[in-house]
Symmetry: C2
Subunit: 126 residues, 2 copies
C-alpha cells in the first residue's frame, strides 16, 4: 500500500512488515461476507440467529467463521449470556464502526452507479 518511496531506508524492514500485515488484513476483511455482516450489523446488537436471517444466503458455517475472523481482528465484540438456551450477541467495535463508514461508502457507490454498471454490462456482453 504505497511504501515504495522508502526503499533502501533504515525503516524498510519495519515498513515491509507493516505492509505485509496490511496486505493480510486486507485479504481477511475485503470479502463479501465480512462486508455484508458489517453492513447489516450497523450500530445494532444482533444475535447469531438474527444475523443469519439478515445476511441472506450465508450458511451457518460461513457466519461463524467470518464472525470469528472479525472478532480476532477486533472488529466485532462477542457477548455471551450464560443462560439456557445460550444467547450470543454481536456488536461492532469502534474499529468496526470506522470500517463500516467505508463499507457504507461502497453501498452508496453501488446505488449511484447501478445504472452505469447495467449499461456497461449489456454493452460488454454483446
Amino acid at each position: 500500500m504505497g511504501t515504495k518511496q522508502f526503499k533502501g531506508s533504515p525503516m524498510e524492514a519495519d515498513l515491509a512488515r507493516a505492509d505485509s500485515l496490511a496486505r493480510e488484513i486486507f485479504s481477511d476483511v475485503a470479502n463479501k461476507w465480512a462486508f455484508l455482516i458489517i453492513e447489516f450489523l450497523g450500530d445494532r446488537t444482533l444475535r447469531f440467529s438474527e444475523l443469519r436471517k439478515e445476511v441472506e444466503g450465508i450458511s451457518h458455517k460461513m457466519l461463524t467463521q467470518n464472525l470469528r475472523m472479525l472478532e480476532r481482528n477486533g472488529l466485532v465484540e462477542r457477548n455471551v449470556h450464560p443462560t439456557v438456551p445460550p444467547r450470543v450477541e454481536y456488536t461492532l467495535t469502534e474499529a468496526g464502526q470506522a470500517l463500516r463508514m467505508t463499507v457504507d461508502g461502497m453501498c452508496g457507490w453501488t446505488r449511484r452507479y447501478l445504472g452505469h454498471i447495467e449499461d456497461s454490462r449489456r454493452r460488454f456482453d454483446a
Copy 2:
C-alpha cells in the same frame, strides 16, 4: 441494501431486482484482488505486465479474470494498441475512480487500526 422499509409497497418488485443486482455487484467487486487492482491503478495508466508487477502475488489468470470483470462492470477502460508486440493499457473510469475513493478509505482504515488489530489478534490467539 436496506430497502426493508418499502416492503409491501408497489415498488417492492423493482427494489428487489435492484437489491439483488446490487448484491451481485457487491459480490463481484468486494474481493481483495479487485480492490488491490483499483488501488494500484489509481489515476495512472498501466499495461498488463506493469500491473502484474505492482500487484504482487497475483497470477496471470487472476489478473485477466479480474480485469475482465472490472471492464464488464465499467470500472476500468481497456485500450489495445494494435502494434506488435501488442500493448494493452488499463485506466480507471469515472465509476472506477469513485470506487477508488472508498478503497482508499479502507487503506487508511488499515493503517490507522493496524496496532489495534495486532493487539486484538494477540489477545484472541491466547
